[in-house]
Symmetry: C2
Subunit: 154 residues, 2 copies
DNA sequence: TGCACATCTGCAGAACTCTTCATACGTCAA
DNA sequence: TTGACGTATGAAGAGTTCTGCAGATGTGCA
């Protein structure tokens, strides 16, 4: 996720509608289906929004962070319990939570020296919920998959 | 996404239900709320599934790939048109598509020397659709956000 | 057959991410 | 006040990812 800092420079040029088709016509790239390209471009969200969205997905793209978020689906937990659930060190847990906090995906409640984290982003909650549901659904269809990562990957 | 190759070693130890609470009790980590931890652990998908899910999110976590997928929401496009839409070089586009293809997120149809790609994963399509919808929804509420990345990040 | 074209791939450099170690901070109990 | 504890942070190193370049592959046309 290098994106956060780059948003500004990317944002300026490509607005939602204006300049999108014009820029393409002027470009030296040959197009096979210019009409489709233009219509796709019209539908394409602004660069900054794509980057923001990718940021969110990227946050969910780490197994540890994802476990953290799954753990938080049911309610708040303190750092050490989160570390126990995910199997991470407390330092790594804290770093991960810091990132999630920076993106307002989780929020903290402090009680004495404890810090209780909770999921604080409805969209992310929905995505995690969906993902877990999809996992269970897939398991129901392909229960043999457990422990048999069949991906070829290349 | 280093995860794919690591699945096997991670999978062996942590099954879905069995051994999850037992392992925790034996662990030297102190728990604040062992009951919650146990129940969260019971609900936690198997490690391999978490990794698979994170892989998918990770695929969506790159702005370029995400644009590629948004472009494919409406139907198939050839590589050069995809490159034009996303503003990537054709080489980078091909690399990205290769990755997506390896994870069966997109599929190819070859016609002569052209390669037409299409979105081939219903779950991913839903996620991308949701993300775009959410983007537009957020835009409607916070139109001022354009070009003003307000994240503090730390 | 030979050339142009669309795409693919291996490689290497640059950039980024994640973890650990060490340490700092704020809170609580004695 | 002191020491223990839970958490937070900075720095550094290992590992991973992404891009462009150069060249390879396969197809179509003259």
């Amino acid at each position: 996720m290098k994106s956060s800092a780059d948003v500004q420079e990317l944002t300026g040029a490509v607005g939602r509608g204006e300049s999108s088709t014009a820029a393409l016509d002027a470009c030296n790239v040959r197009l096979v289906d210019p009409e489709r390209v233009a219509s796709v471009n019209a539908r394409m969200p602004a660069e900054a929004d794509v980057v923001d969205t990718a940021d969110v997905f990227s946050l969910l793209g780490d197994p540890r962070r994802l476990k953290l978020l799954v753990a938080l689906l049911d309610g708040e937990l303190c750092v050490c319990d989160l570390a126990a659930v995910t199997g991470m060190s407390e330092s790594a847990t804290s770093h991960a939570l810091r990132l999630l906090r920076a993106h307002r995906v989780v929020a903290v409640r402090r009680d004495g020296r404890m810090a209780y984290y909770r999921l604080d982003d409805a969209h992310v909650r929905m995505l995690v919920d969906l993902a877990v549901a999809h996992t269970e659904h897939t398991d129901a269809i392909h229960p043999e998959r457990h422990g048999h990562p069949e991906r070829s990957d290349a």
